[in-house]
Symmetry: C2
Subunit: 206 residues, 2 copies
């Protein structure tokens, strides 16, 4: 497939559409608002992208790719699993925090949207090499090396990502429901990283 040259206007539109869609969702987004933010008018939007659906699809696919790459970007090359784990927790939390709207958006829209595009999606995911999730590979190797005890690598990776990702998505709720956490404070996240590592590494046995 030949990668088409993107015009400057096209880039501005995508950037504006991404921002609006991630904040308000597909239904809440307004073509007028996207046009305004891109510094153009509605007619030009439809000239470049036939419809709102098509524009959304472009943005959604691009952002899914970004979401998956966020995991890859957080992996540091090292054979010391303890070191890898500490760095991954820190990097992943930082990377996700920079894109909190993206993750909220994906988990919200995914169900309604995917129903019609299941097939293409599986393709996209496989093409990105998520099947060989690097976190899971690291875990398998660490078990083989005897660096950690035997456990299910898939569930471990899921737990690890859950503990890092969920608090960021839930932050708006947590700041109201669990004020003692002080999730708006940077110090919370510094401590959070340590606590995640400690729990994973040591468990809670006395």
């Amino acid at each position: 497939m030949i990668q088409q040259q993107n015009t400057e206007t096209e880039i501005k539109i995508i950037a504006a559409a991404t921002e609006i869609f991630l904040q308000k969702g597909k239904d809440g987004a307004r073509m007028q608002e996207i046009a305004n933010k891109a510094g153009i008018n509605k007619a030009l939007l439809h000239y470049y992208f036939r419809s709102k659906d098509k524009l959304f699809e472009k943005v959604f696919y691009k952002e899914v790719r970004t979401m998956l790459n966020t995991t890859l970007d957080s992996v540091t090359e090292t054979d010391n699993f303890e070191k890898f784990l500490k760095l991954f927790i820190s990097n992943y939390i930082d990377n996700v925090a920079l894109r909190k709207n993206l993750f909220r958006f994906i988990f919200w829209e995914s169900e309604n949207f995917m129903k019609n595009v299941t097939d293409q999606f599986s393709q996209v995911f496989k093409n990105l090499g998520f099947q060989q999730n690097p976190v899971i590979s690291k875990v398998k190797k660490a078990i083989a090396d005897g660096q950690i005890r035997k456990l299910d690598p898939n569930n471990f990776a899921l737990s690890l990502i859950s503990m890092c990702l969920f608090p960021i998505i839930a932050a708006p709720v947590l700041s109201k429901v669990a004020t003692q956490l002080d999730v708006d404070n940077l110090r919370f996240w510094k401590k959070r990283k340590q606590e995640i590592f400690n729990l994973i590494w040591n468990g809670i046995k006395p």
Copy 2:
């Protein structure tokens, strides 16, 4: 405040509105569709609830209360922390799974919606007694009893909830991105419960 008697029609409307809002969000929901599902017409909808905003507000508040109570409902009374933990993980996953749309909905709508109602919200949360979150109380007691090692109760509770809740919200994505997990299969969740407990209890040290 006097609790008003809810008419049968009012109950039908709230039930219909809840279902539609949770599935499609505030912007995606259509008053016509809510009316249809409630077996009435649009005019009557506005007769009972002045506007879509007011109807949404009613539903949102009610569902937030349900969300918080889900945590309370999952707590079993026992002084054995190991037993408590096993039961909580199982109950909480089951309870959240029954309301997966609710949790997706809350984390999505919370940010945009809460901006205008911050004050009232804090009130609601406090009134529900979430400040004395029973999970955190249990953890504190278990530490005092020497049943578990010393750790930060708030972060522990957050990690516990993250590991149970996040996979359920993320299931639509995971079923595409991590097919090996087989999240649509009941056996996955049975194993998931065990793996969460094992990780928390034992850590990963060899």
